[in-house]
Amino acid sequence: MSARATFRPVVVGAALSDGTPASTPRDVPYTGGEENSSAAALRTQFGEAVVRSSVVWGETTVEVRRERLLEVVQWLHDDATQRYDFCADITAVEFRDMERPIEVVWHLRSLPYRRFLRLKVLLEKGSAMEVPSVWGIYKTADWLERECFDMFGIQFTGHPDLRRLLMWEGYREGYPLRKDFPLRGRFSRSEQLRQSLAANPEARYSMEELSIADAFDDLPIEMRARLRAGEQVGE
């Protein structure tokens, strides 16, 4: 047999003992609904690292300290009573109130337990916009964190390849979804156009990203030599 791992389908709710089928909760109150049991588990496990938790429309939000975020996520992912195996989204929120800190948000889902948990880390204005990357735990965090970095300028430390995702590389106007960013950008239209036309759309793609790694032996000799020397296609 090949050494490849066999595919195991995820059965939603498999870890639930009662085996009741999933049902949509009805008449959920705006606040004060039933809390996700993971929040209480986090409080006992991590103590003061959990700042506060709230329930809005039946969804539990847990605010944790930045320093221990990676630990918390790792525990939620690994622990047999949690098994948060799906990172649905990573994003950030900035409020109109300039005093309010920026929130970085992780949406985690436990498929075996049918749970949803929202983690938040608050970054004060003026402090370093840095949070640890969860790329080591969820590979899907790769592009989510890149997008968040692109739009909000949040540095995910430990991310293997943190560069812009939506805007082109070398975009110099800042982070578009920040509240201090003007809607039409900072530069004039002609300057924006000049800069964007100067960008090379094929720049800085590795061989794997261009999916020509398999065709390496068929490439022209000089191109093979250039790629072997570590050159990336483009500028």
Binding site: F181, G185, S188, R189, L193, L197, P201
Partner: protein, 208 residues
């Protein structure tokens, strides 16, 4: 009652004895006629306009009637670039390169409000009209334009093609703006002199 019967439309009658085996025409006319009726489109669909474009190409509206049944997905074998949808700045160099890869003679149709002016997307990410990147022959308004609108634009383009003169050498010139030329006006000067246009007060006329 004095009415003459309508002539049979499908009947072509000719008398070989009275006709010679040749006709005369202008070369301009012949070339333009063949070009206008075999425009191969290069669809550059980025948004909802592309859906209307697909509807135009499909059986009900049937672009094939205009000699456009062959969608050319390689710019090197295309005659007319149909830009359907908004173009973000990140795509601007791509569109420019596709246009440069097309061979002369080539034309461009800007389909829809976004491609023509940026439309409602007067923001940091969207090009305010593709005529700031490449030359455009026909603008089709609409959001998105119906297939009839696109076909009207195509027929306008056909008329334009029919009126081209081979003697006009400048027709096929591709000029990059040359800052050393006396005719060159800097984008800043254009922006200062030009009135705002389109639906956005901050839209400028200058391209490069």
């Amino acid at each position: 009652m004095g009415l003459t019967p309508r002539p049979e439309p499908n009947l072509v009658s000719y008398d070989p004895q009275s006709q010679e085996g040749w006709v005369t025409t202008r070369l301009d006319f012949l070339v333009n006629w063949s070009r206008a009726n075999s425009l191969w489109p290069m669809p550059f669909g980025t948004a909802c306009c592309a859906i209307e474009f697909m509807a135009s190409a499909a059986s009900k509206f049937d672009l094939a009637r205009f000699g456009m049944e062959r969608m050319s997905f390689s710019p090197r074998q295309a005659d007319v670039l149909i830009c359907a949808g908004r173009v973000p700045f990140k795509l601007a160099p791509v569109l420019r390169r596709i246009w440069q890869q097309m061979h002369q003679p080539k034309w461009c149709i800007s389909m829809g409000a976004c491609a023509s002016t940026g439309g409602m997307f007067d923001n940091y990410a969207v090009v305010q009209g593709i005529d700031t990147i490449i030359p455009v022959d026909v603008y089709v308004p609409g959001c998105p334009p119906r297939p009839e609108g696109l076909m009207y634009g195509i027929m306008m383009l056909q008329k334009k093609v029919m009126n081209e003169r081979m003697a006009d050498k400048s027709l096929r010139d591709e000029m990059e703006p040359d800052p050393k030329s006396k005719l060159y006006i800097s984008p800043r000067a254009i922006d200062e002199l030009g009135e705002p246009f389109g639906n956005a007060t901050h839209q400028q006329r200058s391209g490069l």
